[in-house]
């Protein structure tokens, strides 16, 4: 076990960084809307509507966007917790879409998820040790003594103490519960972890603790993250590259500095300017882009560019034609007619 923990970090820009651990191509997830006694299908919620991207080994890809834009669904479909409607997800070159439960079970230890709500994701009637042991038993990890020794080590790794093993989730604070969730997620030595809003439910003073922990674990265990969040400031802090979603589609994807210093999509620009900065002098001098209206429903997305109903610079073309997903600079992708 310890060998894996001390595994050297793959250089972020070195050889290993250029091979994708995950390749997502034209991924779609539609949820049917059914009505009436015979449950007739009357439409679709286009939760994810054709996204393509890659995640490199050892990197953190931030996935941002407002609620309902399809971030969680993207994460779940990648891990095959939800079945894709269309498209491809390749993990280390191997196609996941279409695999049955048994085939996925073999791959499952490699890819794990950390959830937003540490209260809801931990069984209140199980001790911390049994919560973490569950996936270990399922995947036939060692004997009981070996498992307990590993659980003890895991608790240390996430900043808890071995004495916590026999306590129940309700005895812990929100931040500590998230540490338990993280311990369970890394128990099987995964390579790829989807973190779905892991700090959104935590107090401000605790968020930095959990983010620092995730960063340390990434270094020590050589993890690759898909970090889903609506907190653009935190994503700037910890991501290498960032993808922005709007109504089920990706509108921009770029290295973190490019995305924050020269955002190209009007939605990314508006999103940025909407985030308050904890500094009155900066706030005083800031120009805000205030978007009109509300986010439309993904069951009936606008024609053409789905952002055109709120876009401050939209032209008539925008309502007619879907903008192409183009690489405007090396590694900088945008879907906008004007970019």
């Amino acid at each position: 076990m310890t060998e894996t923990i001390n595994a050297p970090l793959g250089a972020p820009n070195g050889e290993s960084a250029s091979s994708p651990i995950l390749e997502v191509t034209n991924l779609k997830k539609y949820f049917p809307i059914v009505r009436g006694l015979v449950r007739r299908k009357v439409g679709d919620v286009r939760a994810v509507d054709g996204v393509s991207f890659q995640i490199q080994k050892g990197e953190t890809l931030g996935l941002v966007g407002e609620s309902g834009c399809g971030k969680s669904t993207t994460g779940r479909v990648i891990l095959q917790l939800d079945r894709a409607t269309e498209g491809s997800v390749k993990y280390e070159g191997e196609e996941l879409v279409g695999k049955n439960a048994g085939q996925m079970r073999v791959l499952r230890p490699n890819m794990q998820m950390v959830f937003q709500d540490p209260h809801a994701s931990l069984n209140p009637r199980m001790t911390v040790a049994s919560i973490i042991e569950e996936p270990l038993i399922e995947h036939r990890f060692g004997n009981r003594a070996e498992r307990l020794a590993w659980i003890e080590e895991l608790l240390g790794l996430v900043g808890l103490s071995p004495t916590h093993a026999n306590r129940y989730p309700h005895e812990f604070s929100g931040g500590q519960r998230q540490r338990i969730g993280i311990a369970r997620a890394i128990a099987l030595n995964p390579k790829f972890v989807v973190c779905d809003e892991p700090i959104a439910a935590l107090d401000v003073s605790i968020q930095a603790q959990v983010v620092n922990l995730l960063e340390r674990l990434q270094d020590e265990l050589d993890l690759t993250y898909l970090f889903i969040s609506h907190d653009l400031s935190m994503v700037r802090h910890l991501a290498d590259r960032v993808a922005v979603m709007y109504l089920g589609r990706m509108v921009e994807l770029a290295p973190v500095e490019a995305l924050y210093e020269s955002p190209q999509h009007p939605y990314t620009q508006a999103l940025h300017s909407a985030v308050p900065v904890p500094n009155p002098i900066v706030e005083f001098g800031r120009e805000r882009i205030i978007l009109k209206g509300d986010i439309p429903s993904p069951s009936n997305p606008p024609s053409g560019c789905s952002f055109h109903t709120r876009c401050p610079v939209a032209t008539p073309e925008c309502a007619e034609r879907v903008p192409e997903w183009r690489e405007i600079n090396p590694g900088h992708w945008v879907a906008c007619h004007l970019a």
Partner: protein, 311 residues
């Protein structure tokens, strides 16, 4: 026994925008409730009936009780408008009644006033929206209705408890823009309670920082962010990343927020404070000035700038 608000008192100046910052369990919301008795200073003149409110159990106040003390002096805006809006009444009806009560206007005049209010808070097609039920509106629109409702009786003070926390960031920006605009038009004092140091930075005149049921720091806004005096405020500012800067590592505050179930002995931040010394564990620091003008107050025995005990 919950020790939520320990001798919290402060003044609110006419037309002032006061930000109250704290994490969950810091006592922000309970403070809001107790404000109802603490407020009889300028500009909030509270009559005897409202002052009696202080005898209620501050933690178990329900929306109906709040509605009854709304009486025209204080307007409320909550995080979730659905808890304060009646789901089976149109928003028009819910707004008309208080306007009639407050102004003595008849139904026709009150309706005209309500449509004017809906317009003022940026609700398009106010005439149409008048007939809508709360569930027919988006979260952002419902929050605008709440603001209209809070303004209906021309209150001297508006208390907003995490009013944008449940909203997406582009909708939050719309609401903040509206509030800034309204402040220029109306001279209402606002108490804006939030966990977000960013939101109040651009809005508030003064900020109060709460921790463990107490005010730990209080200051004009620019001074607070430029020279935070309390170790908790400093820690909070160091632990949040900024969207406009490429950050280094985040300095987190160790430990957990305090439990309000235990009677605090000494400074409630001491268990997490890097500067804590023996005095902090036995004596409770009181708010005292850290600047010459006496506008910037901190409740801490240690002067972090000078690196010595405060005299």
């Amino acid at each position: 026994m919950v020790h939520a608000v320990n001798d919290v008192s402060f003044e609110l100046r006419a037309g002032e925008f006061l930000g109250v910052v704290g994490e969950s369990g810091s006592g922000k919301s309970v403070t809001m409730m107790s404000l109802l008795k603490l407020i009889p200073m300028p500009p909030g003149h509270i009559d005897a009936g409202v002052a009696d409110f202080g005898e209620h159990d501050l933690l178990s106040i329900d929306a109906a009780t709040l509605r009854s003390v709304r009486g025209g002096q204080i307007g409320f805006i909550f995080q979730d408008p659905m808890t304060s809006l009646n789901p089976v009444l149109t928003i028009g009806k819910q707004l008309t009644e208080p306007v009639m009560l407050h102004t003595g206007a008849d139904r026709r005049a009150a309706k005209a006033r309500v449509i004017e209010l809906l317009d003022l808070v940026g609700i398009p097609d106010a005439e149409q929206r008048f007939k809508n039920y709360p569930h027919e509106l988006s979260g952002g629109m419902r929050q605008r209705v709440m603001i209209a409702m809070a303004l209906a009786c021309e209150p001297k003070v508006i208390i907003a408890d995490e009013p944008t926390t449940a909203l997406d960031v582009t909708i939050q920006a719309q609401i903040i823009d509206l509030v800034k605009d309204l402040r220029e038009k109306l001279n209402t004092a606002v108490i804006w309670i939030t966990h977000d140091l960013g939101v109040v930075a651009g809005l508030a005149d003064r900020v109060i920082v709460m921790y463990g049921g107490r005010i730990v720091e209080q200051s004009p806004v620019a001074e607070l962010y430029a020279r935070p005096a309390h170790p908790y405020t400093q820690g909070l500012l160091n632990s949040v990343p900024r969207i406009d800067q490429k950050g280094g590592s985040l300095t987190s505050i160790p430990g957990q927020p305090p439990s309000l179930l235990a009677e605090p002995v000494g400074c409630s931040f001491a268990p997490r404070c890097a500067y804590a010394f023996d005095r902090c564990l036995t004596e409770t620091p009181v708010l005292s000035p850290v600047d010459l003008a006496g506008e910037h107050l901190s409740a801490c025995f240690w002067d972090t700038a000078e690196g010595k005990e405060r005299s």
